[in-house]
């Protein structure tokens, strides 16, 4: 297993398009690192640069203390799961899983042992003689993962391995992947656009946008303390609500005003807003759907028009509008309200986020 480190890595195409910009990151041994972001953010490119399938335009890639920029893929001792699985169509499942070992000249009985064990972990022992064309999507995906875990490379790379599966299989495989990570004690670098996968699997998440790292932190940190509006909006489902609000001084208190709604900021927020000179300016107020409550003090109340409700059983999602801004609120199932009604909710002021209008940076980032 290995540690990786990126120093100022850039990827620019011949036509001048830059897809990865100034990428700096240290990946520790045994880390389950998630690269997440919307499509086209450069996350897959980053993974392919680690694998050696794409050239690094500038910067340095170190694997276990060795500069790898120009090393060919086959000499990097890595292992990769592709989004399309990339199974060898003419080989059986067993041969597919044994391929990487065979080219590394692992003795036959050792191959047999390792493939057998991997097949057991992934519950595909009964499929070993089949050709990939005779497998279902979920089975193919297991074989792809199996072909990777039979080896003990420096790191496992996974490029959206679950994106072609249906929702149920996906959540099942998530659990298994987490288990495999624990058992193998491996360094895994995992690319996904799905923030649920990112939150549940990763020991650390790197959020990327337009080729730039936005934030690299633990799942909890990313959720609780997003560095900017992009990260705040990208992580969390349903995503955070954003409202442009005025920061106003009302007597002793600092108020966040939008339309007829007036929220009184807590001490920490007030202090930061005053110190950084936001009073009298507009900022983005960010509230996660679960940070609304049915009851609370009057100064935390806002009113919105319910347009739709989704009953999910353990909770209800209310979608609606507040001064033309869309809002999504997650409440307990005993709240009775129907589309067309005006519903009062109370904001948990200790959990709100505030973002600068221009830079979109988190004003109260700690």
């Amino acid at each position: 297993m290995a540690s990786l480190s990126f120093v100022n890595v850039c990827k620019t195409y011949k036509n001048g398009l830059t897809v990865v910009k100034d990428f700096n990151l240290d990946i520790k041994d045994r880390e389950f690192l998630i690269l997440v972001g919307p499509s086209g953010c450069g996350k897959s490119m980053t993974l392919r640069m680690i694998a050696g399938l794409e050239d690094i335009t500038s910067g340095e890639l170190w694997i276990d203390g060795q500069l790898m920029n120009m090393t060919s893929p086959q000499s990097r001792d890595l292992s990769m799961v592709f989004q399309s699985y990339a199974l060898y169509p003419h080989l059986t499942v067993y041969q597919n899983m044994a391929f990487g070992l065979k080219v590394h000249k692992v003795p036959k009985d050792e191959i047999e042992k390792r493939v057998g064990r991997a097949a057991e972990i992934l519950h595909i022992s009964h499929l070993l003689d089949r050709k990939p064309s005779a497998l279902s999507g979920g089975q193919k995906q297991r074989v792809a993962i199996g072909s990777v875990i039979v080896r003990q490379p420096k790191a496992y790379l996974m490029d959206e391995p679950l994106s072609n599966l249906d929702a149920k299989l996906r959540s099942q495989m998530r659990v298994e992947l987490a288990k495999i990570h624990r058992e193998l004690g491996a360094t895994i670098i995992y690319v996904t656009h799905d923030q649920v996968e990112a939150m549940t699997l990763g020991t650390r998440i790197v959020v990327m946008n337009s080729g730039v790292i936005q934030q690299a932190a633990s799942p909890n940190d990313i959720y609780e303390n997003p560095v900017n509006k992009f990260v705040a909006g990208f992580i969390g489902s349903p995503s955070m609500n954003f409202f442009p609000v005025w920061v106003a001084r009302r007597g002793e208190k600092i108020c966040l005003e939008f339309g007829k709604n007036k929220l009184i900021a807590n001490e920490i927020c007030s202090k930061r807003l005053v110190e950084d000179g936001y009073v009298g300016r507009r900022v983005y107020l960010g509230i996660r759907p679960e940070d609304f409550h049915e009851e609370g003090p009057e100064e935390q109340k806002i009113l919105f028009d319910v347009e739709m409700k989704e009953v999910l059983g353990a909770e209800i999602l209310f979608h609606g509008r507040i001064n033309r801004e869309e809002i999504c609120v997650r409440l307990s199932p005993n709240v009775k309200a129907e589309p067309g009604e005006r519903l009062p909710v109370y904001v948990d002021m200790d959990r709100i986020k505030l973002f600068d209008m221009d830079t979109e940076q988190n004003i109260i980032y700690v």
Binding site: A51, G52, L53, S72, P73, Q74, S75, R76, D77, L78, S79, M80, F82, S84, A86, L87, Y88, P89, H90, L91, F99, G100, V103, H104, K131, S133, S147, R151, L157
Partner: protein
């Protein structure tokens, strides 16, 4: 049945008429007529005169000349098919990665398919000319390629292989582009070098198109005629007397239409059996 429903019922067949009429007159009818002729002795006009049953066949099977032409054809087919497929495969592999000028090169490799066997034979005739031919000049030999029974067959076969290599290049190129690019990426991350990738992925990946190409090549090689006619006329001796040329000579020089017809039927049977055998084998052999 009124006219309207008749038109409706007959409609589908009407579209078949042009194709089927041609097939009927110039393929089915002559095919059966050939079988019929093969059972008769004919006159110089090709009219069946005397029913002789399988005598024409019996004569052929007792004739050393016919066995010679079968043997010659077999050697010829083996050389043509193996060389032309190898040429096509090498060219296709050379053109499988992009590089500057690839379009020009791939046109060059495919070009022989546009050339007539007779024209090509004329060019080869000069190339193989014992005193002024470029082959002897480059190799520094003084061999009379075409009139030496040792070399004549190989010359005709290599010429045919060259002609057929063009379309084989296209087949193999298509086969190569059908192989999923990501399996190469996965193999290289898995640690396979380019030689391993070629033998573990490229060759097996080509096997379906390889099989198809093999069948087409064999059938095509059996039918070679123009090059023999122009280059060697079956000679020297009977060393290049391929079966199709032998049919031509028997029918249109010796006016033995019955015997020629019998040879045609045997040629058909050989091709049919070979094709069926190969399809049998394919079901077992070819991966995926």
């Amino acid at each position: 049945m009124n006219i309207k429903t008749f038109v409706k019922k007959a409609g589908p067949y009407v579209y078949m008429v042009p194709a089927m009429a041609v097939f009927a007159v110039f393929l089915f009818f002559p095919f059966f007529k050939t079988i019929y002729l093969s059972l008769y002795k004919t006159n110089k006009m090709g009219q069946a005169k005397l029913y002789v049953g399988l005598l024409n066949y019996a004569d052929l099977l007792n004739s050393p000349s016919f066995f010679n032409s079968l043997l010659v054809t077999a050697i010829f087919v083996v050389i043509v098919v193996s060389v032309s497929m190898l040429l096509g495969l090498i060219a296709a592999v050379l053109c499988s990665k992009t590089f500057p000028g690839i379009r020009i090169f791939s046109t060059a490799y495919a070009l022989p398919m546009a050339i007539a066997s007779s024209s090509a034979a004329m060019i080869f005739k000069i190339m193989l000319h014992p005193s002024i031919g470029i082959v002897n000049k480059i190799l520094g030999f003084h061999i009379n390629w075409i009139s030496d029974p040792k070399y004549a067959l190989a010359c005709v076969a290599l010429l045919t292989a060259w002609l057929n290599s063009g379309i084989n290049f296209l087949y193999f190129s298509a086969g190569l582009s059908n192989i999923d690019e990501t399996i190469y990426e996965r193999a290289s991350v898995d640690g396979a070098n380019s030689i391993q990738r070629f033998f573990f992925l490229t060759l097996p990946g080509l096997s379906p198109i390889m099989f198809y190409t093999l069948v087409v090549n064999i059938i095509q090689a059996f039918q070679s005629f123009g090059q023999v006619k122009v280059l060697t006329q079956g000679g020297p001796g009977e060393s290049t007397n391929l079966i199709v040329y032998s049919i031509y000579r028997d029918a249109f020089f010796n006016y033995r239409f019955g015997s020629a017809a019998a040879q045609s039927v045997l040629l058909f049977l050989i091709i049919m059996i070979l094709t069926l055998c190969m399809f049998r084998l394919e079901k077992k052999g070819v991966s995926y």
